[in-house]
Symmetry: C2
Subunit: 192 residues, 2 copies
């Protein structure tokens, strides 16, 4: 199954597409290959594409004034990763998006997507739901990080994203959780 097949079967988990629509969709996305550590989106640039991970692993992270990185989101096969803020508002991204493994991404430009909405209305529905879910996930995370201890957040992360925990370095998980790698290491020791 090639990258575009993966995208189509992903879309078809949510919406129905005729054969003709599938081929229009197929032609609307372009495939990009990233090496490990390669950056797909730089903070400061406007994010003009929606991005689907067909294979590999990405992270979105924010860099603060002291040049410290804060991981906002991980993504693996079947996920969408982006600085949605930037994409939706056409303002400079606040986040970087970077490959943590050799990664294959399917991208669609905002203009192409807007045309696609006209040609394949189900796609508009798909993205509306996608944006809603993104909001929900972000809200969960905000509430979570404000009302739970680092230990609770780590245990939740582990049960929710076991597959991610196994393939990204621990210090990045610490960054995602908002703690230092040293403290995560101590937590893990305590939990065992």
């Amino acid at each position: 199954m090639d990258a575009k097949d993966k995208l189509l079967s992903h879309l078809r988990e949510t919406i129905k597409l005729t054969n003709e629509e599938q081929s229009i969709v197929r032609d609307s996305y372009s495939e990009t290959h990233l090496k490990k550590k390669e950056v797909l989106l730089f903070a400061g640039d406007v994010s003009n594409h929606m991005r689907f991970i067909a294979k590999g692993c990405l992270r979105a992270y924010h860099m603060d004034e002291e040049a410290k990185e804060h991981i906002v989101q991980f993504g693996i096969e079947g996920w969408w990763v982006n600085d949605l803020y930037s994409y939706l508002t056409c303002t400079p991204a606040k986040q970087f998006v970077q490959a943590l493994e050799p990664t294959t991404v399917l991208q669609i430009h905002r203009d192409t997507l807007n045309e696609l909405y006209e040609k394949v209305p189900a796609i508009e529905r798909f993205y509306r739901l996608k944006f809603e879910k993104a909001y929900v996930a972000l809200q969960d995370r905000t509430i979570n990080s404000m009302s739970k201890s680092a230990e609770e957040r780590y245990l939740e992360f582990r049960s929710k994203y076991r597959s991610i925990e196994q393939r990204v370095p621990q210090y990045m998980i610490a960054s995602y959780l908002g703690i230092t790698p040293e403290f995560l290491s101590a937590l893990r020791k305590k939990i065992k």
Copy 2:
């Protein structure tokens, strides 16, 4: 200027509306009056309305397992306050929405709004932008709360929301910032 005029002039900051459209919009929203402390939305219920504050002040807050309250959002005249999560997905709300002053709210039911989208297309545009902004604000807050100290967050809050700081109790600002009222009090003393 009555509540519905306020709504209309608010909408017209973003979109254009003919006289006929304005009267359709006017008929689609219903006016609710809340006493201080009255709860407009209970966690556990599904939020079925979009809510515009014509006058007064609301807060949206989350209650954790230990019954501690975490304020997610304040709102005053001209703001929209809701548990968007619940509204968008028709799932039980995780947040309460409560009046902090005698408040006038204009509400529109999801079903009515969907009809209104058909009758007045500009309204759909208005809400799409609204949802985008909500996402942006939430993302800013998440990044902020993870990468800044309580003091920095407080100073930012003060410069950004001076009008809100002046009308809500300090312990609620503490809750919004994710700190205890005692610590906020200490911060304020230190800053002066």
